[in-house]
């Protein structure tokens, strides 16, 4: 694994190599190098399978962290390749030519986080939502409760209780004494 880490840092300036488990490591690269890194991992290092791609909204740092999981079936080892993009200008290079299934993940990120992937097939189509008109709902500045209150009718009379206190009051009232 050390060799691979050195190779990635030497070739692409990859940093923060971290062995999370015996069969899983993570590494961070610049967004502009991501496609080269994934191409190299796929073609030269045996990481032929793109298992997953998703985004994390790090609103405090004003970035989206994109994570691509690639897997090597020969060594049964996986790598999480992280990169960060500006939250105010969420555009990322598409990798659908490296792995055909990547456009599905990219379409998901487009709908849920508003990250654009120019050139990715069907990227602007609806993914899981139908007729959604609000902002991308997985962004952390989207207020789900306020949206829900404004959109869906509520049945009056709903009460919220602290479970521990309520059970004590109902089941063991003598415990207070």
């Amino acid at each position: 694994m050390r060799e691979l880490a050195d190779m990635l840092s030497g070739r692409y300036g990859a940093r923060e190599w971290h062995d999370q488990r015996k069969d899983l490591s993570s590494v961070t690269v610049d967004a502009s190098k991501l496609r080269d890194v994934l191409t190299w991992l796929r073609d030269e290092a045996g990481y032929a399978h793109l298992a997953f791609a998703t985004a994390v909204d790090e609103i405090e740092r004003k970035v989206f962290r994109l994570t691509y999981t690639v897997h090597n079936y020969g060594t049964a080892h996986g790598i999480l390749v992280h990169c960060e993009i500006d939250r105010d200008r969420p555009v990322m290079e598409s990798i659908h030519r490296l792995w055909g299934q990547a456009w599905t993940y990219q379409r998901e990120m487009r709908e849920w986080y508003g990250i654009d992937f120019p050139g990715s097939p069907r990227v602007d189509e609806e993914f899981v939502l139908e007729g959604w008109e609000g902002p991308p709902m997985m962004r952390r500045d989207f207020d789900s409760l306020a949206y829900s209150d404004a959109t869906y009718a509520e049945r009056p009379g709903r009460e919220t209780r602290d479970p521990a206190a309520y059970m004590k009051e109902k089941l063991y009232p003598e415990a207070d004494a």
Binding site: G131, F142, R155
Partner: protein, 209 residues
């Protein structure tokens, strides 16, 4: 809408492309005019003995319907059985939370069911949103969108509770008080307005019959 004397106003079906509007029904639902009491009582007894459930699991609660088919709970002894299509069903079991996407299918399936039809809503989510009370995509009470005859509370209700709910539904039907279908016809405009308020991409007929 259900003016028994005059002809009802045809529905606009504005969600459909103009060329397809003629292919679908444009009549709103009409209320059921009951027969003489003794006949209607007999029919209601017969209806209550033959509840056919629409096999459409609309939420996580649908998992509680499976044990009812097994020999342990055996809903068939009450005359309850699942059917594969809305056209053959008389009971729609809303199985818990309904997202907006599912609600669209619920409305469509409910309207396609033949009368007399009844709705059993199970789980807290159908009553007041349950654990999805702050979800951006889940409605909080189903009775804003389709009429409900019986609620079964719980998260999840056990199969025994479901059987008790079905017994309650039978009692209501026999008493002639299962008026959901008529309620829907009477308040059609209100229900439709509520549905269209949350289903933003309305691309189906106004009444799916």
């Amino acid at each position: 809408m259900s003016d028994k004397k005059g002809k009802p106003v045809p529905l606009a079906n504005e969600g459909l492309p103009p060329g397809e509007r003629g292919l679908f029904c444009d009549a709103p639902p009409r209320e059921y005019a009951p027969a003489a009491k003794i006949v209607e009582d007999f029919w209601n007894w017969a209806r209550s003995q033959s509840l056919w459930i629409l096999g459409f699991g609309t939420g996580c609660g649908a998992i509680e319907l499976r044990p009812l088919m097994t020999s342990r709970y055996d809903m068939y002894r009450f005359g309850i059985q699942p059917r594969p299509t809305p056209r053959q069903s008389s009971v729609f079991v809303i199985g818990g939370y309904a997202s907006v996407k599912t609600l669209k299918r619920i409305v469509r399936s409910y309207e396609q069911m033949m009368g007399p039809k009844f709705v059993v809503a199970l789980g807290s989510c159908t009553i007041n949103g349950g654990m999805y009370w702050d979800s951006y995509n889940t409605i909080k009470r189903i009775d804003q969108y389709i009429p409900v005859d019986v609620y079964i509370a719980g998260c999840m209700p056990r199969p025994e509770a479901l059987l008790a709910g079905f017994q309650e539904l039978k009692r209501i039907i026999r008493a002639g008080k299962a008026e959901g279908q008529n309620l829907y016809a009477r308040d059609f405009e209100r229900y439709k307005a509520n549905q269209k308020r949350v289903i933003k991409d309305w691309n189906m007929p106004d009444y799916n019959w």
